[in-house]
Symmetry: C2
Subunit: 456 residues, 2 copies
């Protein structure tokens, strides 16, 4: 059976549409990234000098201006901003919580961080008994009386047996995104969510939650995996314990912000675009070095490499720093609207938003024939250990372009460490390895070179 | 041309010699490692409680006893020690150095660490002019008068364009291993070596150097890559500058130590062995978490997984913690001698000594037919992203078994970060990711399961 499978695989993927000279260009691309690469320096500034840059914050504005200037300094043909109104959520100064024993005087402090977009508590915080659930079905099976007035504790861990940790994340993150609405429908007054990580540690992970019209907004926070295990364990001994937390976060009026776009104009098909991008906004805690400073500086690096190697592209190549991926996707949405309005045909969009880790290949959303064509290039990436080309998946910011027929591609990185840092105070520059970052940029530049050269 | 290449590839590697049930067992192996894995906890103790464990040190003795007890606690069929005499080199308390300007009063302190096996300086240190070279050819082209009485500074960087960083290391490490002998032959009184890393930072990397009978022993130290660049730059302005360094390291009499061996006895071929191992000794600075605590705890984990899943092997499976890989290879040498003497037929040896990073596949040294057989299993590792099976290479400790016809296999890991930490004070437990470590153990357990099941 396996023999037959491989044979079919061979038949369907043997259309090799590349030349020896492509190997040389791709070698040059990696050499340039690994020898003269600038992505690491640019990320150092973005992370260490600007830092966390949530949509609408002064840091986000600084990041817009900084990346604009970097692209001007690199001499790209055009650098411009796309104005967009973005939500501005602010965390506030105070975030505190404790677990209060029902049997005797005593409490344990725990670290929390409010979920993004959450409302805050009143000044005195809230304190209530806790009901632990692991999924929405379990919650739905409860009587309203079992939930009303309580804090719902969502405690389903990520599945450690999934090798691709993004799949593990995908299997748990609905608790964070949809938990507060589900809990509020049954009369809960607050939500505590186990952090979205496979690591057992003391670090709470933030990330966006969503409210729904007609459902009361209740405050929601994340606790670390260690604290989630402790809370679960304490609940078994003391079902009457209370959880107290206080947060001062709130949503402010929308703020003017921007996508930042740099372009090398195509020599033959200037109105057809290949986009490479990441999102410039990050969560407020940490530096946003991996999520997604890495993707932004890699996108800029792709264009810098083209210029350094004097590769004149057929199509226009754009580096796009999208704004507001984390809590609204306004940048990605607006970019696609403008592309349509301006008749900018985007043949492909590549997004790097899986951290600045060793590139392993690409995830590709395309029609079968196009997919086969891209797959036929994978052996060119074998020397760089980045030849894992997978069907399906692209990136959040480029997603809205799909309706225009754009092929969507995501840089596929080694995912083991990503959720150790994701949306935390330790997503910082020191967690990024220079070579891993550079190899990611080179991999995208190489693929864009092939797309530009052979079309899609 | 590419089409033909693939077709030939298909013809030669299409012998699929595995069954659906193998996929199930391998899935179980990874699940066990990722869900109930113990390698991370064992490494925590070895790194944090015992720490750096150079051959002959009290810490090395503690590591022998600790890993012996761990394997007894896990209930392996046999656990025993193989006595060996090992060198004992001690660093001493003082390591200091500075660059002294020749034109005016002034000096710059630099961090150094003595190379392993090096002699120390006299108590007052040594101070001499510096001659910078990049390779042995350049050194050999110099007149003896240009070298005599000087300190030779070997400053050839690792090649950043090599994707596999072990190749980059291999292209530079002769400066560290052979530099002092080459320099002493021309009358140099000391050696300074640029650290063996691709990272630009302030951390000196130790590692073994070798002396040669009949050639004067001269003291040798490493400086960081940043300091190497600084020294090179200062030399251009001030060729008369002097380098001063003082080290108190020395070689002591040999010490009794041990290889530590745990075994699950084979059900049908108990006298035929499949070995999995790493080296228990490490450098004295740092914890030796990646080099090679990781390999040791992974080897133990392989046997633990077999027991946990109640896999009864046909052949005997041994976890071997080799002693003295870093500065003598006495453990590996002795192990092979004893295997031969005791008629223990080792069909395969797998070593993990490339750090506890994401496993990417294996490097395999075997005859063509055997290699083809192992290669035919690679698709089984695709779901675990560890299917990069490469010809050639095994591991230092298992190398001496090659003469007995043993197939040698090395766990091939993602190599980008390895030389950031290798042989330094920052090769510590916090640099190890639990899942990456566990996946390496699972990958080796899976391959050993196949070798045991199908033979070689």
């Amino acid at each position: 059976m396996h023999r037959i499978k491989l044979f079919l695989f061979f038949l369907t993927t043997s259309v090799f549409s590349y030349a020896q000279s492509d190997e040389v260009v791709i070698r040059d691309i990696y050499n340039e990234a690994l020898t003269n690469g600038r992505s690491y320096d640019v990320l150092a500034y973005l992370s260490n000098q600007i830092g966390g840059r949530l949509s609408g914050s002064p840091q986000a504005a600084a990041a817009v201006e900084y990346t604009r200037q970097v692209m001007l300094d690199f001499g790209f043909d055009t650098v411009f901003l796309q104005p967009i109104m973005v939500p501005r959520w602010v965390r506030g100064e105070v975030e505190k919580a404790k677990i209060i024993n029902s049997k005797k005087i005593g409490s344990v402090e725990v670290n929390i961080c409010a979920l993004g977009n959450s409302i805050g508590t009143d000044m005195g915080g809230i304190s209530a008994p806790v009901i632990e659930v692991h999924n929405f079905e379990e919650l739905a099976d409860l009587e309203e009386s079992e939930v009303k007035g309580k804090i719902v504790f969502f405690n389903r861990p990520l599945d450690p047996t999934l090798i691709n940790t993004f799949r593990a994340y995908g299997g748990a993150v609905n608790q964070r995104g949809g938990g507060p609405v589900m809990a509020a429908k049954l009369g809960a007054i607050g939500v505590v969510v186990r952090s979205m990580t496979l690591s057992l540690d003391d670090i709470p992970h933030t990330g966006a939650t969503r409210y729904q019209d007609g459902v009361p907004k209740i405050p929601a926070v994340a606790i670390s995996t260690n604290d989630a295990n402790m809370l679960s364990s304490l609940l078994k001994d003391d079902p009457g314990l209370r959880f107290y937390f206080e947060t001062h976060c709130k949503m402010m009026p929308d703020v003017l912000s921007y996508n930042v776009v740099g372009e090398i104009t195509g020599s033959k098909k200037p109105d057809e675009y290949i986009l490479v991008g990441g999102h410039l906004d990050s969560w407020d805690i940490g530096d946003g070095a991996h999520d997604d400073g890495a993707g932004c500086v890699q996108a800029i690096e792709v264009l810098r490499i083209f210029k350094a190697l004097e590769i004149t592209p057929v199509h226009s190549i754009r580096a796009v720093m999208f704004m507001n991926e984390e809590n609204g996707l306004r940048g990605g949405t607006r970019y696609a609207e403008l592309a349509k309005k301006n008749n900018e045909k985007h043949i492909a969009g590549i997004e790097s938003d899986r951290g600045g880790f060793t590139p392993r290949g690409f995830t590709i959303s395309a029609e079968d024939e196009t997919l086969d064509k891209i797959m036929s290039w994978k052996n060119l990436f074998t020397p760089y250990e980045a030849d894992n080309f997978l069907k399906g998946g692209g990136g959040a910011d480029i997603g809205p372009l799909r309706a225009q027929g754009t092929v969507l591609i995501g840089l596929y990185t080694d995912s083991q460490r990503y959720f150790d840092y994701h949306h935390t105070a330790i997503d910082t520059f020191d967690k990024v390895n220079k070579r891993e970052l550079e190899m990611g940029a080179a991999s995208m530049a190489a693929l864009i070179y092939l797309i530009d050269h052979y079309g899609l």
